[in-house]
Symmetry: C2
Subunit: 141 residues, 2 copies
DNA sequence: ATTGAAATTGAATATCGCTTTCAATTAGGA
DNA sequence: TCCTAATTGAAAGCGATATTCAATTTCAAT
């Protein structure tokens, strides 16, 4: 961890250590605010901007990436070996991940066919989960 | 057009007429600001908020949809019969569309397997276009 | 261990899409 | 024509993200 930062010219600090640990202990798709709140419950002296900057840093060193579902809130998702897509509910915000490995090869080809060097892929499905559909049905319409 | 609005309880106005026409005359992936600027070149009296709201309206009646690539700017894309994906350059912002029809059937299955009723799909590739790669190579690194 | 340049921090402030508010105007069915 | 609900434009508001800056801290080089 410390090595990874130093390799790219960044320094390790107590704040970063706590933020890193908290981030990786939390689930996936964490927003800056959510992380900030959790971090500051452990150490009230850590500033919001530091949490925010560290999240960017985690992306910069390649350990996470931003996920944007169009609700104006950026979430941060740990990068896994297997590329995955997101399925999320427009009503309750539930996230489901699914394996997108097979699609990536297709998309790779699409990119090179257009002369692009791909940097990242995004495969998303927006919809309504079973639970939300049942609830809206119960409450009429 | 007017009928489409009336069918959903909306009224037609001169402002909307101009905004609709301008939007559909412009290319794809238009941001609210871009449209607003173009509209107001034709009629300076039209307020920004009206352009805004009309863009939302166009989505509501099903003629366009929001496209969000994570740069904080919502773009509006006319809905075409064929579902398509987006390939865009992280450097210059160039957009390329590609046919994603075959992927949709796969995604449809993924959704139903999880008990979701899909409302929309997003297939995107971020990368660097040929032109930008050449330019950054010329200017060292 | 000491030093010092460069990175980092936290509070405050700025930014900037986007949204809401509200009084005045307008559309269009009755 | 009349009436009411929808619409408009200006201004103010909102909220996530970004930047500024003085004070502090890290860590490579002494
Ligand atoms: Mn994920
Ligand atoms: Mn498109
Ligand atoms: Zn749901
Ligand atoms: Zn480019």
């Amino acid at each position: 961890m410390k090595e990874l930062l130093h390799a790219k010219g960044f320094k390790m600090t107590p704040q970063r250590e706590l933020i890193f640990r908290t981030f990786f202990d939390m689930g996936r798709h964490v927003s800056a605010d959510e992380l900030s709140e959790k971090v500051r419950r452990k150490d009230r002296s850590i500033g919001h901007s530091t949490v925010w900057r560290t999240l960017k840093l985690i992306c910069t060193v390649g350990l996470a990436q931003e996920v944007n579902i169009g609700d104006g809130i950026t979430r941060y998702d740990r990068i896994t070996r297997v590329p995955h897509g997101h399925l999320f509910c427009l009503e309750c915000g539930e996230f489901v991940e699914f394996d997108a490995g097979d699609m990536i090869s297709r998309l790779d080809k699409v990119a090179s066919d257009s002369g692009f060097v791909p940097e990242g892929f995004k495969v998303e499905i927006q919809g309504y989960c079973k639970k939300c559909r049942q609830q809206s049905q119960e409450s009429g319409r």
